[in-house]
């Protein structure tokens, strides 16, 4: 068992990481917003952690907190990404469809170029020598961090789906104007969905910085945006498991195909083309397509006569 973990630990953690990043795109998508901003928040979260864990300015704090520093980095990353998500989201989410996607692409690029040029982020070289979280000796031990995060996120997503807020998201995704007319404020919920995605990506970034030991501008690129989009579309965009399955699979395939060396990325590209053609609902969608959801059960205490409203102005 330990041999397996040692050999494949890194890969498994990366697969879980990919699933989490897929979920960070899934949340805005639930409200109908195609946001390609996740890599930007992921990179930001990672830089926050990297700086807090290596920069001399924080050495006093590091000595005081010891291992407690690591969860602090997650918190700070979450807060910063949430704030930035709010700041970017409020204006950007007035846009629809491809315009929003393009605005988020621009955001990621701007962040990338800025991070390439600031001293505190280490410029083009980035930051290296990031200490291992909690003194982990092996890469697979990071499953203790990413695993619970994934489970919590899935739980969060499922609860959200069944709640009033989840319904608001779906309404906006289906028909923003009709949702507005039926009393659902679109901008508020679009921004909320966007911020949830941003915070998640930020936390994943903060956890990933120690995992990878180094952090640089390559973590937040347009390529990553597209990779994450592929996770969600190929895995399935209408179900919380879709991004997880898509992320895991599309991360594992290039590894499994390692022996193909230079042909690896070509195959990856072909997989994208073929999957978009033959799996329009994604893998999970295709698997689910066969089963129809059970009809909703009527609660026992439905009033026989609908009362006249007491509400209204």
């Amino acid at each position: 068992m330990s041999g397996f973990l040692e050999q494949y630990g890194f890969l498994i953690v990366t697969m879980v990481q990919a699933g989490l990043l897929g979920l960070s795109l899934y949340f805005p998508l639930q409200a109908g917003q195609l946001s390609l901003a996740s890599p930007g928040f992921y990179a930001l979260g990672g830089y926050v952690a990297a700086i807090m864990l290596t920069n001399p300015a924080f050495s006093g704090l590091r000595d005081t907190l010891g291992n407690g520093m690591f969860p602090l980095t997650w918190l700070v990353a979450a807060l910063l990404c949430g704030l930035l998500g709010l700041f970017v989201g409020v204006p950007a989410l007035r846009l629809r469809g491809i315009y929003l996607a393009l605005a988020t692409i621009a955001f990621v690029e701007i962040l990338r170029v800025v991070s390439l040029n600031l001293a505190v982020t280490g410029g083009a070289i980035g930051i290296f020598g990031i200490p291992q979280a909690f003194g982990f000796q092996d890469r697979w031990q990071y499953l203790w961090l990413f695993g619970p995060l994934l489970l919590l996120t899935l739980l969060f997503a499922r609860q959200l789906e069944r709640s009033r807020v989840g319904r608001a998201f779906r309404a906006i995704r289906e028909d923003e104007l009709a949702a507005d007319a039926m009393g659902v404020p679109p901008t508020r919920y679009k921004v909320l969905a966007f911020v949830i995605g941003a915070v998640l990506a930020g936390i994943v970034g903060a956890m990933s910085a120690p995992f990878l030991n180094t952090w640089n501008a390559k973590q937040g690129t347009f390529d990553a945006s597209i990779a994450i989009l592929a996770f969600v579309l190929i895995g399935g965009s209408r179900n919380i498991w879709g991004p997880v399955v898509g992320g895991a699979l599309l991360t594992a395939i290039p590894e499994v195909l390692r022996f193909l060396a230079d042909w690896r990325l070509i195959i990856n590209g072909l997989v994208l083309v073929v999957a978009s053609l033959y799996l329009p609902q994604g893998i999970v969608g295709a698997l689910q397509g066969v089963r129809r959801p059970p009809p909703p059960r009527r609660p026992p205490s439905v009033p026989a006569v609908v009362e006249a409203p007491g509400g209204g102005a």
Binding site: F156, Q159, L160, R162, S163, R164, V165, G166, R167, A168, R170, A171, E174, D175, L177, A178, A179, D180, A181, M182, G183, V184, P185, P186, L192, P293, P294, P295, P296, R298, P299, S301, V302, P303, A304, V305, V306, A308, P309, G310, G311, G312, A313
Partner: protein, 259 residues
């Protein structure tokens, strides 16, 4: 049939509502009052600006000029969700149900503005009582329109007539005091139109609503409405009792050569 009382309060007041799109004036200086509890019809030839007027009144399009007052509040240019919160709800000419969602979902969503569970309440499951009420109310509304046995079916799969009923159920879920129906009988045959007329009346009586109806089918409007307004080329050319309006020479001229 309730008698139209001149003592009834004015619930909606439109003054000089105008909407321009580039060079085109879709709604031109329209002013009228709607009284509490009445069924008010809006008729006119195609392209007269009726739907645009509804859009102005429900916040989907801001007016170029003019005001709309609801129970004394100035609601001109408010966002649609604010207007829904104040108690005005509507259906759409082209039916805008949430097609990929079930009938039950459609009706549950529209209760948003009368409920309050936020993100954390939803995630931690502390809003169970509210959720139960939302669920029950949604089923009750589906019962009302006779679609409860198909609560789980996707809205897109319903027949045209059933979709219209579902849209009305959804509009009712926002607990409105004023209901705007945009061509609710379009595409229906005579029998269905009769059923719909009865249904609108039932809903009006049961929920104590004020109803505005855009309709093309003049006999339906005459049968159903307490008062009627006639729009032509964006302008209001007549308002009043259905019989009188029908005999108004300007109205007759507007419809000449039309349907």
């Amino acid at each position: 049939m309730t008698a139209v009382s001149t003592e009834r309060a004015t619930v909606l007041e439109a003054r000089g509502l105008t909407r321009r799109f580039g060079g085109l004036v879709a709604v031109n200086d329209v002013s009228f009052d709607v009284r509490e509890g009445e069924i008010f019809g809006l008729i006119g030839p195609n392209g007269a600006g009726k739907t645009t007027l509804f859009n102005l009144m429900t916040g989907l399009t801001p007016p170029s000029s003019g005001t709309l007052t609801y129970r004394g509040h100035n609601v001109t240019g408010l966002a649609p969700h604010r207007i829904a919160a104040l108690g005005i709800s509507r259906t759409f000419q082209n039916i805008r149900l949430f097609r990929a969602l079930s009938a039950l979902e459609n009706v549950k969503i529209a209760q948003h503005v009368r409920t309050g569970a936020g993100l954390w309440a939803g995630v931690f499951g502390t809003a169970r009582a509210e959720e139960r009420r939302v669920e029950e109310r949604a089923w009750a509304l589906l019962d009302l329109v006779g679609l409860a046995d198909r609560a789980g079916e996707l809205a897109a799969n319903f027949s045209y007539g059933d979709q219209r009923r579902l849209e009305i159920a959804r509009a009712l879920a926002t607990e409105p005091r004023v209901l705007l129906l945009d061509e609710p009988a379009a595409g229906m045959n005579t029998a269905e139109k009769g059923q719909l007329t009865a249904f609108i009346r039932e809903v009006h009586d049961r929920f104590d609503l004020t109803v505005l109806v855009i309709e093309h089918h003049v006999p339906l409007v005459m049968n159903l409405c307490d008062r009627v307004a006639v729009l032509n080329f964006g302008q209001l050319i007549a308002v009043g009792d259905p019989g009188a309006v029908q005999r108004d020479p300007k109205v007759i001229e507007a419809y000449l050569g039309g349907e």
